[in-house]
Symmetry: C2
Subunit: 389 residues, 2 copies
């Protein structure tokens, strides 16, 4: 059974309430957001239209009351269908003033007309994993009108890192569908196929299982080893003794899975079998560490210790897993210095990567939700030994 | 036959040469770009990994010589496989200094150590349809080190708006595949399906035809009319007398199609049939206007005149078509004031939209390449009368 689509209004009301609580602690009169996941988080506005770079879209979270949408006219009907009551539009594209005046006027209305002289009352995410999705020229205009803005990356990330049960249900559903698709791979892939055919076959299978979309699909094949795990497919033909990795971020109702699986065709070298086992064990060590109160740095350390004990030459991924949500990767990162405290209902990936020989990488990934007593797997656990097709 | 994947090195050398010619005219020592299509344009680096917001990626076009990539280590192998020789990496994520120092050092090396005191030698796209894909906090650091940056949106857009024959071949291929899929719709859609089933069926058909992906798919159904053309599917069941619009941006080798088609089920009201015909005629008027030397404003005017003569109540799209390329929409826009001069080998959409009654919109879209003697259609021309399934 698929979980229900969308969310009840109470979900958005609760997100807004938590945000306003954090805003009050810091004396903020408004938060401005302008990227797809940020706007969707507060409004429920969900469309692939964001792929068009032409028009900026804004949402303002005031100190009290519902968020306000300040958006191009083309989005009015869709935004009006969300829980948002106050939808202000302009005719876009309008390069000379693409929403800037309307946005400034709205912010002045929300925080008071003297905003430029009372620096520090408007928040904007300006830190890690964020960007401002509007022309830099217009960011400058905005800042000239609004005075100093406050970085609220920590507010937005602390909200989005902890998922509701409704969000977790969507994650669980898509992770289950992708697990099913991975389980089918031995039946639908074979030597003689090209990488491109294998990618198309896997994408088709994920959709057949019921995913809405497969926005993220990378992978590679290689004889005896794989050097690059974020590649797009080539016309290389898969042969005996090849390794294959697929890593996919697929979606259900706008929420991602993000995990990979590794396979060998016909035979595998002992070194590859050992590398697979080492990374599987590293994931076990990560799972044993995940619990409320642990840190991302401890999780990293637990996995890294296993990889080091297995002769890791390091890896260039820069982390061993991350948050998961409306984006294929979100805060936090499991690194040696991230030190984010894990809390209940975070949805995370564990992603240890081992460079077991020069140019030969093995990466495993699982998805989980953090519960009071530890990790609850969302992906079906990878086989402990390298599967051979 | 599919066109060849990727491009020969000469394609990137020519892009770089044209860019450097424009840079020389303006006395620029370097251009910095940091979004997916910009980096791909100069390097050929092609991966969906950009969906992860965690890490910034940079490419520098110097006044002479090949572009330089300044990227997270995870991309090194993929970037090294492109025509780029100089790939500089750092271990990312590293929130305290996520590439900023490495980037500043590289820019100083390229334009000279006194960059901060010689304002105006480094270009960055800061205008319409652009954004800077890195945390605003890091943009500020960068500007503090580099002095005043020059907006080069016009350089980048003038390059990207005019396509090579190799790019046009990719557009033609994907437009042909999507045309085939639209032609199949009467055979694979029927009343009694939900919108969600219809979307999944269409997505599957586009992939079956050979598209790499369907990143953009919107549409709607409605009895006697449609109020919102950028919607995601619902569980609404399609019935007799419904109208359906599908609009898709599908891809082949990283290049987009972007056109829509409208259908009625079983029967259609005379008003809907008239609206369809009016928008079809507006497209004809647009096609008759497209030629090198015409402007986007003239193209808009030609289509708008037909819509007005047919009782248009206006529309909220804000334009009647746009450029097409590595993104589903690119510069320019057909608006009343855009005034971009059309040149040979631009790939454009024509997208007249008619609000024929309150809450009832009809939008047509075609894709074309501009040739010396006028438009060469890439999409298979829509039927002149509303097709009934």
């Amino acid at each position: 059974m698929s979980p229900e689509r969308g969310f009840p209004e109470s979900e958005f009301a609760e997100r807004t309430r938590r945000c306003q609580e954090l805003m009050a602690e810091r004396g903020l009169g408004a938060i401005l957001v302008c990227t797809e996941p940020e706007v969707r988080y507060f409004t429920g506005f969900h469309t692939p239209f964001w792929q068009s770079p032409t028009r900026p879209w804004f949402t303002i979270v005031p100190a009290e009351g519902k968020p306000i949408a300040v958006i191009p006219g083309i989005g009015e009907a869709s935004m009006a269908a969300t829980w948002i009551d106050d939808v202000r539009t302009w005719s876009s594209p309008q390069p000379d003033d693409d929403g800037v005046t309307l946005l400034v006027d709205c912010l002045r209305e929300v925080v008071g007309p003297d905003v430029a002289s009372s620096n520090g009352v408007i928040g904007l995410p300006m830190g890690p994993e964020t960007h401002v999705r509007m022309p830099l020229r217009d960011v400058d205009r905005l800042r000239a009108c609004l005075g100093e803005l406050v970085d609220v990356t920590d507010i937005i990330s602390s909200l989005r890192m902890v998922k509701s049960e409704a969000e977790i249900a969507k994650h669980r559903h898509i992770c289950g569908l992708v697990s099913n698709a991975f389980d089918e791979l031995p039946n639908i892939l074979s030597t003689g196929m090209t990488e491109r055919q294998a990618f198309a076959t896997f994408r088709g299978e994920i959709l057949r299982q019921g995913a809405d979309d497969v926005p993220y699909l990378v992978g590679a094949t290689g004889h005896g080893g794989i050097d690059d795990i974020i590649r797009q497919p080539s016309d290389r033909t898969i042969g005996d003794g090849d390794l294959l990795i697929f890593d996919t971020g697929s979606t259900f109702d706008g929420y991602f899975s993000d995990f990979d699986r590794n396979f060998a065709f016909t035979t595998a070298e002992p070194d590859a079998i050992d590398a697979y086992r080492a990374v599987w064990e590293a994931t076990e060590a990560g799972l044993a560490t995940v619990r409320p109160g642990a840190t991302t740095t401890e999780i990293f350390g637990a996995m890294n210790a296993v990889l080091k004990a297995n002769g890791s030459l390091g890896n260039d991924v820069g982390r061993m897993g991350h948050g998961l949500g409306m984006q294929v990767t979100e805060w936090p990162s499991h690194t040696a210095s991230d030190d984010t405290v894990i809390t209940e209902n975070m949805v995370l990936t564990l992603e240890p990567g081992l460079l077991w020989a020069p140019g030969r990488a093995m990466v495993h990934e699982e998805n989980l939700v953090v519960r009071a007593n530890g990790p609850d797997l969302l992906s079906r656990r990878a086989a402990p030994e390298l599967p051979i097709i």
